[in-house]
Each structure stands twice: as C-alpha cells, then as structure tokens.
Amino acid sequence: MCLAVPGKVTKISSADPLMKIGQVNFGGIVKEVNLAYVPEAKIGDYVIVHVGFAISILDEEEAQRIFDTLDQLDNIQDHPL
C-alpha cells in the first residue's frame, strides 16, 4: 500500500481544483492521479504518488546530488591524502 514509485505526468485536466487530475506514466503503466496537493505540477514532472494522490514533485537538481556525493567518495578513495 505504501510502496510509492515515481511516475511522469503526461497529461493534466484541470476542472475543480480539488479534483485536478493528471495522467501519470509509471514505467509504461498509465494511471489517473489526483494532483490537488501538487498544484504547481507540469507535464513532464516526476511525482511521487500514494493511493491515487501525488504528494511531491521530484526536484531534478537535488536528485543529482547523490551522484555528486558518489563522485566525491571516488576522489577520496582514488587520491588518498
């Protein structure tokens, strides 16, 4: 129930703000998702979805950080002080 995976917003239909619905593609499976809690979501954004509701938009810059940290780890290992 709680295994939320990120999906990509491919379509947004906005009528009632409480019922702003988007289509979200989860690796090929497209589902209808309520976007009421991510009103700023745009087509192309990746969102985390829980029981039919997007709860967060993924931040690409922040997402990159873990890989930057990994590069730093590499530098430490490759060039010991």
């Binding site: 709680c2 409480l18 967060s56 931040d59 950080r65 890989f67």
Partner: protein, 362 residues
C-alpha cells in the same frame, strides 16, 4: 533521470557501502522506520553489503501491521452487514482479526471491494445509492491527505450513504514510544521519506535533541537507504545527533502545506491503539466533530477488545525492533503469507513477509 534505475546501480551501492565500512569504528544499531524501506532492505539484501558492525532493526512503519485487532474485527462486522459494500486497500483483506479476516467474509458472499484510491469509494457510493458504503481508511501521514480528501468531498457533495472506518496513525509519537522503552537499543533512525514529504522534517528536531539520536530522512531505493545509513553512521561516529535529509529530491523542510491543511481540516489528533504495541497518546487521527456524520463507528456501533488469536506470534516485538522475524518459532512454518498468523506476515511492507519473500528460511 527516471528516478528509479539510477538508484539501483550495484556499483554505486558498493561504493557507498565501502564508504560506510571506512568510517565505522564500533558497533551501531540503526532502525529504519518505514515498512517500504524494510521491504527494499530485504529485497536488495542490503544488510549483506554492510559491515558486521552495523545492525538494522525494522520499525513499526507498516500501517497494515499496526491497525489494531479490534478495528479489524469492526471491519469484519461491518463488511458482513447485508446492506454494506465494504471498500479497502487490498492488503487489509488477509489481516487476521480475533476470529477471522475480511477475505473470509468475502468468500461467504460479503460485498467487499478492493480500491486503489479512497476516491474510488465515492464513485462506488454514487453508483449504489441503495447501499451503505464503508471505506477502511487506514494509514500513516502518507495516506491521510487522500483519505481526508475523500471525506471532505463526500461532505461537499452531500453524500449520505458513505462512511469511513478510520485508523490513521502518526509516526513521531510511535518513534518516541520506542525510544522510551527500556528495551530500546536503537542508536540512529532512518525516518520515512514519504511521511516527511507530507509533514516536513521539523517535528523530528525535538526528538533528535531530546534523545540525542541522529535522524536521517531517507528514501526508498537501495542507494537512498545506503546513503541514509552512511549519513547516520557518520553522525554517530562524530558524536552528532541532528536531523538530516537524504531524500532532498522529494522532501522539503516544511513538507506539503496543502496536504497538511486538509488533514487539519478533517482530522484531529487523538490517542490510538497500535497492534502489538498498545495505546500511544496523541498518535492518531480521528474525524473532527464537523465530519462525525461520516464516522462508520457511529453508523455501525459495535465493540471488540484487542485480544490476539495466536499466542505464538511475536509481531509486537518485531514491530518494535526487539526481535527479528526469523527469531519467531512460527516463521515460515505455521506462519506464511498464504496463512499468516500475524499482520506483519500479510503486507509486503511487513517485516515478516519481507523476510519470508526474500530470505531463505533457515
């Protein structure tokens, strides 16, 4: 960036694991709070990558597992009423009540429907005006906004034939309860990323400070969990106890304000019973008076106590990180996902089910 495969790269995982090995000098016990993380740890066998000095305990963060037996009994009672359509997330159907589970009501002809979102139940209620629809609104802070929205919308639309059996629980009070226990041996916490995506990270500050424990808000992919462990171990080695955010791509410090607003509009904080743990003060959400009409417990009054059927099941201890699933004598023998004795063997996020699925039974 697709935010999935990138975080499952084995070479990267090994790199973080070796960074952990390099910084660790003594034994540390960490707990991941969320069942989704427990599931990933078992699935990717992350414990194997870690140095022996690091032990992982599995926390109470599986809503299916902590829903009290009395509420399962109430659900079974309501689902068995002739005029009721009972709606639930799929994993609740096999959770054992004191005498039976929802699946046995269904096999006797009860109209029980599995829904993907609480909003689906509104449609079912509209399509069946002659029936009473009840939704089993369970979950942590992650499902609370969805359940709150369904309840709010039911009221806005003036619906009369729908009600909600609410079992919403909150993570921080449960964490404090575990840390207060004399049996506690947890020295660092991986907090549940998606709960924090809703609630933000601030409510963990006083816990980190008062209990001198590092808390790292962590995601759910293997690299997230390993990095969360790395940050936590680094804090422990350096004698720090701070709230850190590993899951920056999804969690903002203030959380999701519109989701928090609707939770506050529909729910109020109340004490809640946790299966296997007992009552924890201020640890749950109940419907506010203005939404009392939608309370299934008022519409279908019934009383059950919290008596467990199986005496062999130690899931309460598993949920508190005191025992591991494979220390239970029933594990993989009389208790399997096909015939579970305890709730932790039912949900994929339950520690017993995760161990059973991914680890050889020895």
């Amino acid at each position: 960036m697709k935010y999935v495969d990138e975080y499952r790269n084995e070479k990267h995982a090994r790199r973080i694991a070796s960074a952990i090995s390099e910084c660790v000098t003594r034994r540390w016990t960490l707990m991941e709070i969320c069942g989704g993380q427990t599931h990933a740890i078992a699935k990717y066998n992350l414990q194997e990558l870690l140095p022996d000095k690091i032990s992982l305990l599995h926390g109470p963060g599986c809503p299916v597992c902590v829903t009290p037996v009395s509420l399962i009994d109430k659900a079974v009672y309501m689902a068995a009423q002739p005029n009721v359509i009972f709606c639930s997330f799929g994993d609740m159907l096999r959770v054992p009540g004191s005498t039976e589970d929802l699946l046995s009501v269904k096999s006797r002809g009860g109209d029980i429907r599995i829904v993907y979102s609480p909003m689906d139940t509104l449609k079912i209620a509209k399509d069946n005006p002659q029936k009473e629809v009840v939704f089993f609104a369970i979950g942590f802070e992650t499902t609370a906004p969805a359940n709150a929205m369904a309840i709010k919308k039911a009221k806005l639309d003036g619906m009369r034939n729908i009600s909600f059996l609410v079992s919403q629980v909150l993570v921080p009070p449960a964490v404090k309860c575990l840390l207060d226990s004399p049996e506690n041996c947890v020295q660092g916490l991986l907090a549940a990323g998606h709960v924090c995506a809703i609630m933000g990270t601030e409510e963990y500050q006083p816990i980190a400070k008062d209990y001198h424990i590092p808390i790292v808000v962590t995601g759910f992919e293997p690299l997230d969990i390993l990095q969360g462990i790395y940050l936590c171990v680094k804090q422990l080695e350096e004698g720090r106890s701070e709230v850190e955010n590993q899951y920056l791509r999804a969690v903002r410090k203030a959380g999701n304000a519109s989701a928090q607003n609707i939770i506050q509009e529909v729910f109020e904080i109340i004490p809640r019973q946790w299966r296997g743990i007992g009552e924890i003060a201020q640890s749950g959400l109940g419907l506010k008076k203005t939404y009392a009409f939608y309370d299934a417990e008022k519409k279908f009054p019934c009383e059950f106590d919290d008596r467990e059927k199986s005496s062999e099941c130690i899931s309460g201890l598993v949920l508190q990180g005191i025992k591991k699933p494979n220390e239970c004598s029933a594990f993989g023998k009389s208790c399997t996902p096909e015939s579970p004795l305890g709730a932790t063997m039912v949900s994929t996020e339950g520690a017993c089910a995760a161990y059973y699925r991914y680890q050889p039974v020895s």
